[in-house]
Symmetry: C2
Subunit: 327 residues, 2 copies
C-alpha cells in the first residue's frame, strides 16, 4: 500500500481523500492543515488531522504527499519546501508561471532525491497530454482549447467583490458556432470574444442598483470586458437550489492535414464533462501520486510533469494486464 | 537527423514517407521491398529502393526501421526478426495477439539491446492511451470504443470474394442512439448489433443475382450476421467517384463516477475523424520512431508499447518548450 498524506484540506483535498480511499493500492495516513486540527472534520475514519507545522515528523511514514493548496500563493512556496523531504504531487495551474515553478521544485527534488510531479489535473494535465500527443502526430495543424460549460471560481469571486452583491456564480461557456467552425476543419483565428461567453448569476442586496452592478460586471477589465457577458439577477434560494454544483469541462481540438498536397484532413477532439471539477482534478492527482511513488521506487528523482511520465504508471494494473485489456 | 528506413511499401508506408519528409528532425534513407526494387516507384527523390533481403547491409546506416507490413502474417515474423538488428516500430493491430507478439519481439530486442515499439497507430495506439489514462483517473466507470464512420478493409474484402461481385466497400458506422446513451452517462450493456451498423456498396456483374448477393452478405457469419447490414448496389463509376477514399475514425468514451455516494458523473470523450486512415496511422508511427530513437539513445532496450513511453518523446520540441507552450 502506498502511504498518502494530504497537505491542506479544502474541496480538492476532499476529492483526493475519496480517490485514495477508493483505490485498492493506496492508504491515507494523515491530513495536514494550517487551521486548528481539532476544528477540521475529515471524511476518513481513524486518520489523524495534524498541524501543518509538524509535517516533518511524518517524513518516514508517508510515501507521497499530495499538496492541495492554491496556485496563487500556497503552491509556489509549499511545493518546493515540501519536496525537500517528501515525494510530492500538486495541481499548480497558473500556466504562465509553470516554467518558474518547475525550476524551483526541480532544484529541491534533485537535491533531496525525491520525485515531484507538478501541474496535474485536467488543464494543465489531461488537456496538456492531448495537446501534446495531438500536435506530435499531426504536426501540420493547429489546436484549440475551449473551457466550459463550467464555473470559474476567479470570475465568481470578482463579482462578489462588487458593492451590493451578496453572492455570485459565473459560468464560462464555449461559443458553439466557433466550436463547429473548428470541428469542420477550418482553422479560424478566434478572438477572446469569439471563443467564450460569460454567464453570471448574481444575488444582490435588496435595494441595490441592479443596472449599476450589471454595468460594473460587463465592463470589468480582464475579467469580462473582452467577452460577451450575460447577467441574471436571482434570489438566494435560486442560487442555493440551482447553482450549488461546481461543474466544469471543455474541449481540446486539433485540426491537421496530411497528404502530398495536404489534401487529407484529420480532426482529433477530446472533451470532458465534469459534474465536480475538484473531484475530477483530485482523481488525476491520486493517479499521479501512484506514478510518483513508482518512479521514486525505480530510483528516479526531480520535478516532472505529465509529459515526462509513461501512461502505465498511473494505473493499478500490471503492464501485462494493461497490454491484454487496454491496448 | 534521425535516419529512418521503411520496410515494405504500400499505403501505410507512403504515409510514413510523407510524415518523415515533413518532420524537420528525420531523414528517410532507404525503402525496402520484397518486390523487384526497379518496379517500385516512391515519392522521395534520391532515396534508394532496396531488396528486402539486403536489409542487413543497412545495419549501420539506419537509426530506426519502420515496418509497414500487415498484421496477419508479415509483422509476427518481420518485427522479431528485424529487432535483432534494428530499432523498430510497427503497427501490429490484432488486439488478441498483442501479448504474444510483445513477448516474441521483447526477447529479440532485449538480446540485441535495441528498442522495439509495437502496436502504435490509432487503435491500438491513440485510443489505447485514452482508454488507459481515462480508466486510471476514473477507476469507477466503464469505457466504450466505437469505430467509424470508416472503411473496413477486411469486410470489403469479404464481400469481394462473393461470386458475382466485382468490387465492394464496407463502412462501419457507430449506432448514434447508443453513442448518445453512453454520452448521457447511462452505462448500457451494448450488444454487437447495438454498437455498429455495416453499410456496403457493391458493384455486381451485369447478370448477377442481386438478391442472392445481398442475402450472402447479410448472413455471413462473423462479418455481418451479428449486425444490421445495409447493402447498396452501385456502378463501377459511382464506386470510383464516391468511394475511393480510405476515411476512418471513431470514439472512445469513459463514463465514471466520483463522490461519497457516487453522486458526481464525469464523461471523457475522445474522437477521431480521419480523411485517410493509413496516413494518420503513419503519422503516429513516425512520431514513435522519434521516440524509439530517443529511448535507444538513453540506453533503453526491449519491446515497448504506447503505455511505456513518456509523451514528450514523441515531440520534436524540447522539454522546456513543451512545458512553456503545451502544458
Amino acid at each position: 500500500m502506498i502511504r498518502i498524506g494530504i497537505y491542506g484540506y479544502g474541496n480538492l483535498a476532499r476529492g483526493v481523500e475519496l480517490a485514495v480511499n477508493t483505490a485498492g493500492d493506496m492508504k491515507l495516513v494523515a491530513v495536514f492543515t494550517r487551521r486548528e486540527p481539532a476544528t477540521v472534520e475529515i471524511n476518513s475514519v481513524d486518520v489523524p488531522v495534524i498541524n501543518a507545522k509538524d509535517v516533518l515528523e511524518w517524513k518516514d511514514k508517508i510515501d507521497v504527499l499530495v499538496i492541495c493548496g492554491g496556485s496563487a500563493t500556497d503552491l509556489p512556496q509549499q511545493t518546493p519546501e515540501l519536496a525537500k523531504h517528501f515525494n510530492v504531487v500538486d495541481s499548480f495551474d497558473t500556466h504562465a508561471k509553470i516554467p518558474e515553478h518547475f525550476e524551483n521544485v526541480n532544484r529541491e527534488a534533485i537535491n533531496s532525491k525525491k520525485v515531484a510531479v507538478i501541474s496535474v489535473g485536467w488543464d494543465p494535465g489531461m488537456f496538456s497530454i492531448i495537446r501534446m500527443y495531438s500536435s506530435a502526430v499531426l504536426p501540420c495543424g493547429k489546436d484549440y482549447t475551449f473551457w466550459g460549460k463550467g464555473v470559474s471560481q476567479g470570475h465568481s469571486d470578482a463579482i462578489r467583490r462588487i458593492p451590493g452583491v451578496i453572492d455570485a456564480k459565473q459560468y464560462t461557456i464555449p461559443v458553439s458556432s466557433s466550436l463547429e467552425k473548428v470541428r469542420s476543419g477550418e482553422l479560424p483565428d478566434l478572438s477572446t470574444r469569439e471563443k467564450h461567453i460569460r454567464e453570471c448569476y448574481v444575488v444582490a442586496e435588496k435595494d441595490a442598483d441592479l443596472a449599476k452592478i450589471e454595468q460594473t460586471i460587463v465592463t470589468m477589465p480582464n475579467y469580462f470586458a473582452d467577452y460577451n457577458t450575460i447577467v441574471h439577477f436571482i434570489t438566494e434560494e435560486e442560487m442555493k437550489n440551482e447553482h450549488s454544483g461546481i461543474p466544469h469541462g471543455g474541449f481540446v481540438i486539433r485540426s491537421g492535414k496530411t497528404g502530398i498536397n495536404s489534401e487529407n484532413q484529420h480532426i482529433i477532439e477530446y472533451s470532458l464533462k465534469l459534474d465536480s471539477n475538484p473531484e475530477f482534478t483530485a482523481s488525476v492527482l491520486a493517479a499521479y501520486a501512484r506514478a510518483a511513488w513508482r518512479l521514486f521506487e525505480k530510483g528516479e528523482s526531480g520535478c516532472m510533469t505529465a509529459f515526462d511520465i509513461p501512461p502505465k504508471y498511473l494505473s493499478q494494473k500490471s503492464d501485462t494486464e494493461l497490454r491484454k485489456t487496454m491496448l
